[in-house]
């Protein structure tokens, strides 16, 4: 196995024809179809990728993006269709074959082995060995070189479980480069990155593009698509809708293509004035992790909590909910002191948390939607420890209509719902429990553009009913579009407050989040 020389390590493996086809299609997928039991995931998948371009692949959840990528990755065979690489028809029977052809996929869930060190992960499966013994010195040196090319300083001897998410992503990219990939697919690469880390990533993407690598960029965040991509392909219902240069594709047209109908507005209108103080947080902290944080949430108000990833927002709301123990501070709900030492106590007091990660923390994916819905309430409905088997379906039916949750029936497993419907289901749980304070951690993560408006409308209906909503969000357009007031966190503390949301600009929030100007 040859060691990539320092010059070539960022350069893609060149195919036989690539010199002739300087700006030609490096990849062409046409007429791809794929059927799974009970669902036609793809009808007419199409993707044409030029050398050295960043190509956005857009569409709502269920549009067929993931299936198309899995087929490209060799993880699934297509039923029909043709894949050409540098003009030659190829068929990948396994992920390994695709990898050898120069295709790398960076999934949202990274494929790093937590207990292995950075360089070991980078060379995993392609270990440099002599007579069965690893040549760790070589690997270390090569890994350091790659990191240098990426312009990042990650110690290649660190274990991957000690890395921050952004760093793990960089390791994934380094891994792709070490494979001399010429097509890199990035699935929601910025989902867990802060603004600054996003900028770093964009820098790296541009550099790779300059080296002739083609990048397929899958994202729900349209701002980023406009910032980094050259062309975009939109898919809907398993079929190709259009492929255009991004400059010729105005935002409304793009959304219409994705959703299949024009969207009236991205955010519902604000209404009503905030009432009296509902939740009063005084100096809440968990020593060494977050705080002390003080804030007041009023009835009928959406209070946004923003900041960079790692600013302590999620850690803070977990304290509010008792998911982690606070080491100091006081909480008052509607004038009464509450002690959320664990989630049960918080729920009893009227505080609920809609976690960022619904699949891991919000729902029991294998259990039915009705069971998920009833879980926080079954104990209060029960008599003598026995379930109330009449009240449960009745309550579910009415909330399901109220929140317009699309399910095939009460027995459908929660894992089969779309992101938007999962979020609605979690919300229904807490509405049924009559919570007063709703804490949303990244309310629209993994939710389609089309379904987002519905979630936003539900948040508004909560405030109309006199509830308080605390919204943690990294997406600045969402923060500016939805909130009545904004708090910015940095380093575990609140460092700024914006009362006049209508006149706030993304740059101001970013400046607060990054540091420099302190307005408090």
């Amino acid at each position: 196995m040859s060691q990539p020389s320092s010059e070539s390590s960022l350069r893609p493996r060149s195919g036989d024809a690539s010199d002739d086809v300087e700006r030609g299609d490096v990849l062409s997928m046409r007429g791809i179809s794929k059927r799974f039991p009970g669902v036609q995931a793809l009808r007419d998948g199409r993707l044409e990728l030029q050398r050295g371009e960043v190509h956005a692949l857009l569409g709502e959840n269920g549009a067929g993006k993931s299936t198309l990528i899995k087929i490209l990755a060799g993880a699934q065979p297509p039923d029909e269709g043709e894949i050409r690489l540098d003009g030659a028809v190829r068929r990948f029977h396994s992920p390994l074959e695709a990898k050898q052809a120069g295709i790398a996929i960076i999934y949202q869930e990274f494929n790093l082995i937590p207990a292995l060190r950075v360089f070991e992960n980078i060379f995993l499966g392609r270990d440099r060995a002599a007579l069965g013994w690893l040549r760790t010195g070589d690997e270390r040196r090569a890994a350091r070189e790659l990191m240098g090319r990426l312009g990042v300083s990650i110690d290649v001897d660190r274990r991957c479980d000690s890395l921050r998410v952004a760093e793990q992503q960089l390791v994934e990219i380094a891994k792709a480069l070490a494979d001399r990939a010429r097509i890199i697919v990035m699935d929601e690469p910025t989902a867990s990155l802060s603004e600054r880390e996003v900028q770093t990533l964009f820098q790296i993407i541009r550099e790779m593009r300059g080296q002739g690598v083609s990048i397929v960029y899958v994202s729900h965040r349209l701002d980023e698509v406009y910032a980094i991509c050259d062309r975009a392909t939109v898919m809907r219902d398993g079929a190709h809708i259009l492929t255009r240069r991004i400059g010729e594709l105005p935002r409304e047209k793009l959304i219409t293509a994705m959703v299949g109908r024009p969207l009236d507005a991205e955010f519902p209108p604000r209404d009503g004035a905030a009432g009296d103080v509902l939740l009063d947080v005084r100096g809440l902290e968990r020593r060494g992790v977050v705080g002390p944080v003080s804030l007041r949430l009023r009835r009928g108000e959406i209070l946004a909590l923003t900041g960079l990833v790692g600013a302590g927002r999620t850690e803070f709301v977990r304290l509010l909910f008792g998911a982690d123990r606070a080491t100091g501070g006081e909480l008052h709900l509607a004038g009464r002191r509450i002690f959320p030492n664990d989630p049960r106590a918080a729920i009893r007091a009227g505080v609920c948390l809609l976690t960022e990660d619904r699949k891991q923390q919000g729902l029991l994916l294998g259990r039915s939607v009705q069971e998920n819905f009833a879980l926080p309430s079954v104990a209060s409905w029960s008599s003598g420890g026995w379930l109330d088997l009449r009240r449960e379906p009745a309550a579910f039916r009415s909330r399901r209509e109220e929140l317009r949750i699309a399910v095939s029936g009460p027995e459908q497993p929660a894992g089969l719902l779309s992101g938007g419907n999962q979020q609605k289901l979690v919300l229904a749980k807490w509405v049924e429990r009559d919570a007063q304070v709703f804490v949303f951690d990244e309310p629209t993560r993994g939710v389609d553009v089309g379904a987002r408006l519905e979630i936003y409308q539900l948040m508004r209906s909560l405030t109309r009913a006199g509830k308080g909503v605390l919204m943690v969000s990294s997406e600045l357009p969402e923060v500016l579009g939805m909130s009545d007031r904004i708090l910015v966190m940095r380093g575990g503390r609140v460092v700024g407050e914006v009362d006049d949301v209508a006149r706030a600009r993304q740059e101001d929030l970013l400046a607060l989040a990054v540091g420099g100007v302190e307005s408090r």
Partner: protein
């Protein structure tokens, strides 16, 4: 067909497998066979009476447990019918000597009633030449039965009696596994309960202990096993010791306790009435232990489908963190499944002590693995969050029927182990197929 497989509720498939197994073994054991000892005795006494011969008869039996039962049954039947039948037992040589004495005695017997075993001896088959003095004696041998050895009521009762202890223990195990745990201590707890109950009875009256004492001692032993479960549960929840390790440690500790209490011996000083639970049958020939087992399963099923605790157990097994964030008292739920598992294992131990009228620290060896096998064959997922108590009963019955059927058809015990292992693998594969379709078997998720 993929979808059709998936739509089936798991219980139907399991019942089908059980039915097929029963049908197969009924067919494979079809034919004529010897009657069981009790039935043989009854048939002989009836034949002797029917022959209406004046004078006495001699019943002949060899050595061994079956022959013991035969001898007892003959005596009981003769007494009931008020007939003069004496029993002669021993090796053919001893029997010949005794018979020669009797033949030349004052009142020589007019009939010989041979057990199935004895009827095959050359001594009796050729009785008129072997002992000429018996030239005129009538020899009666038990008639042979015709039908399936597997389907005989005694055999079916036997199947149930053999599985009862494991099946009861498996109820608690099902709850633990649905909660995404495992309990390796149950085998040792069976021994601990049996020994502890026997030890308590010995201290409180021994063979003369009254019913109340026996019940109280058994209850204390069961509660002690619940206490061990409580301890395991606390270790798992408070100190985050993985269930496998915590219960592996308790398996050793409980076994050690059982040996210490019993001083390494079996404890026998128990009244005969203690076998009421394990050997008796109060209602229509159904063994009491089987009734108890059915009761435990009914309670377990209702608990899992109708109670808040049951709902919480499914939630904790499905995703403990999501459950906690939904307000489920996760620690309390986890502790309670280990307590329940300890209690059912303790109950299983008491049933075993009652079946064997003794308590010994060697009881229950490997039973934890049979209990786990019953749960898994019943389709409960080892990754937790999904499962069904009643299916565990079917799983336990499948294992029992396979073992019994192989015994009847003369499969070696070594081969039986291989078959049992294959059955466990097969059950899990079928379950995967049902859950995830054919794709799950090809290895790519």
């Amino acid at each position: 067909m993929n979808n059709a497989v998936r739509r089936l509720p798991s219980g139907v498939g399991m019942l089908g497998v059980l039915g097929l197994l029963c049908a197969y073994f009924s067919w494979a054991t079809w034919g004529s066979g010897a009657l069981g000892p009790a039935a043989a005795a009854e048939s002989l006494v009836a034949q002797w009476r029917g022959a209406a011969i004046e004078g006495g008869a001699i019943a002949i039996a060899g050595r061994g447990a079956g022959e013991d039962a035969f001898a007892q049954a003959i005596e009981a039947a003769a007494a009931a019918a008020n007939l003069n039948i004496a029993v002669v037992r021993g090796e053919p040589r001893e029997v010949r000597r005794r018979l020669e004495e009797l033949a030349t005695g004052a009142a020589p017997p007019r009939g010989l009633l041979a057990s199935s075993e004895a009827a095959a001896w050359p001594l009796l088959r050729e009785i008129s030449t072997e002992i000429p003095a018996f030239g005129a004696v009538r020899l009666f041998a038990p008639t042979t039965s015709y039908g399936s050895a597997f389907l005989k009521p005694e055999n079916l009762r036997n199947v149930l009696n053999q599985i009862v202890v494991i099946a009861i223990t498996a109820v608690g195990m099902t709850l633990v596994i649905i909660a995404a745990g495992i309990d390796l201590s149950v085998g040792s707890l069976i021994a601990l309960a049996a020994v502890f109950a026997a030890w308590l009875i010995e201290r409180n009256g021994g063979t003369g202990a009254g019913v109340v004492v026996q019940v109280a001692c058994s209850a204390i032993a069961i509660a002690a096993c619940g206490g061990v479960g409580l301890f395991s549960g606390l270790m798992i929840t408070r100190f985050r010791i993985p269930p496998f390790i915590a219960t592996l440690a308790m398996m050793q500790i409980a076994s050690g306790l059982a040996y210490i209490i019993a001083k390494g011996q079996a404890l026998y000083q128990i009244p005969d009435s203690y076998t009421w639970l394990g050997r008796g049958s109060a209602i229509a020939l159904i063994p009491n232990a089987v009734l108890l087992m059915i009761g435990v399963y009914a309670v377990g099923h209702v608990l899992m489908t109708r109670s808040v605790l049951g709902r919480y157990i499914f939630a904790v097994g499905g995703n403990a963190e999501a459950a906690r964030l939904s307000g489920v008292p996760v620690r309390r739920v986890v502790v309670s499944v280990y307590v329940i598992s300890g209690l059912t294992a303790g109950l299983g131990g008491v049933v075993l002590a009652s079946q064997l009228r003794s308590g010994a620290p060697t009881y229950g060896t490997m039973y934890e693995l049979y209990a786990i096998a019953a749960v898994v064959v019943g389709g409960t997922s080892l990754s937790g969050g999904d499962g069904n108590v009643l299916n565990t009963l079917i799983g336990a019955l499948i294992i029992a029927v396979i073992q019994n059927g192989m015994n009847l058809t003369g499969v070696e015990s070594y081969t039986q182990k291989i078959v049992l292992g294959a059955v466990i693998l097969g059950a899990v594969l079928i379950d995967m197929l049902r859950r995830h379709g054919l794709r799950s078997l090809s290895g790519s998720a």
